[in-house]
Symmetry: C2
Subunit: 220 residues, 2 copies
């Protein structure tokens, strides 16, 4: 969401980062959970839904209905992926601390890294191949490209050893992430104080116990 | 998806249930995973996205953009809920058998039943209160009502003891589920062979070890 707003140069207030962040939702259409977007009188929740709303307004979605549904489908697949990333450190309960579910987290993270991560990476590499690139939908950047960049950046933070080892197998995905990271419309934001650094309270968490182990030096 | 198509009396082929079910997706816009809808030349995946497409066409979504986004937001919240239900029996890896993750499943299911289930039920009870009922968006049935019915039915199958104990706290939700179940446009389908019964291969699974324990008879 923030990337989409920043890319488009939209004016917005990040209530999470302002003292006036005590936002009360309207009663009629209450969100289940954050994040949400307040646009005039409207309150829109669910990240993918917010991007569905913002996409055309920020010129980050295709014009045709078919193209918009395809962009949204990619976004929903990224959302599923993100849930799986979250569950690597919280496989038992989101209301519990990581320390209360460490053995389960290790098992789930190992399964994620061995099976799910390559499956998602390879899927998006395939989409980039099919689109002709450099973006998911072809020549124009759309909002799922921004989400995919955020995913790659988060994965590199959370699982540095695993990513260093496997990302070279997905050259188009790596190229897309670099293209977004150094895009003239985002470079300043990404290097500013407004960009929230990845941290141990977020969805992506750098718990070394969950990444693949460091290669042990060979015995001689 | 099936409920929406049946409710609207749409003609469709359920490839999962036909011998000709060997569907190959087009190359350009490949889905990550089933289910998907083939509509003419188009292939649309992600259940919520399919319902976003079908909703207006089957007259199961409001006309205004704001109303459509709200219906979609509810659907996405139900999708998140469904993922959590799935993870009660597969908290470690969807590629593993339940038998390979039973202790973790017990812990996750207990957390789900204690914390997440009441939170979701109470949220949707609140939405029904705010809408004025009897449906989530008010007087007219829309596709998230069908999904919510399916959720309640699945939860009753998977967690019969827990649901029997707590669902009375959510009278409007119970009334909505009954209203959909006995709706004249669905009653025949729901009692037909086309309706796939809940089973131990689906998202909702009746593993007795995951439901709350039977109350032990009191010692006298």
């Amino acid at each position: 969401m923030r990337l989409a707003l920043e890319y488009a140069g939209a004016r917005y207030v990040d209530v999470l980062r302002t003292p006036a962040g005590d936002f009360r939702s309207e009663r009629k259409w209450p969100p289940f959970a954050p994040p949400y977007l307040v646009a005039g009188k409207r309150v829109i929740a669910q990240t993918a839904n917010i991007l569905l709303y913002l996409g055309p307004r920020l010129r980050l979605a295709p014009r045709s209905e078919a193209g918009r549904l395809w962009a949204h489908q990619l976004q929903l697949t990224i959302a599923d992926w993100l849930t799986e990333v979250h569950d690597t450190h919280h496989p038992i309960g989101s209301g519990l601390y990581y320390e209360q579910q460490k053995p389960e987290a290790r098992r789930r993270a190992a399964d994620f890294l061995a099976h799910r991560l390559p499956k998602f990476l390879s899927y998006f590499e395939g989409v980039l191949t099919a689109s002709g690139g450099p973006y998911l939908l072809g020549r124009r950047l759309t909002y799922p490209d921004l989400s995919l960049f955020q995913m790659v950046a988060g994965l590199r933070y959370a699982f540095p050893r695993s990513m260093a080892r496997i990302e070279r197998r997905y050259p188009q995905l790596v190229a897309l992430a670099a293209r977004v990271e150094f895009h003239s419309k985002l470079a300043r934001y990404l290097r500013s104080g407004r960009r929230i650094p990845f941290n141990l309270q977020g969805i992506f968490r750098a718990y070394p116990g969950l990444d693949r182990r460091r290669n042990k030096p060979k015995k001689t």
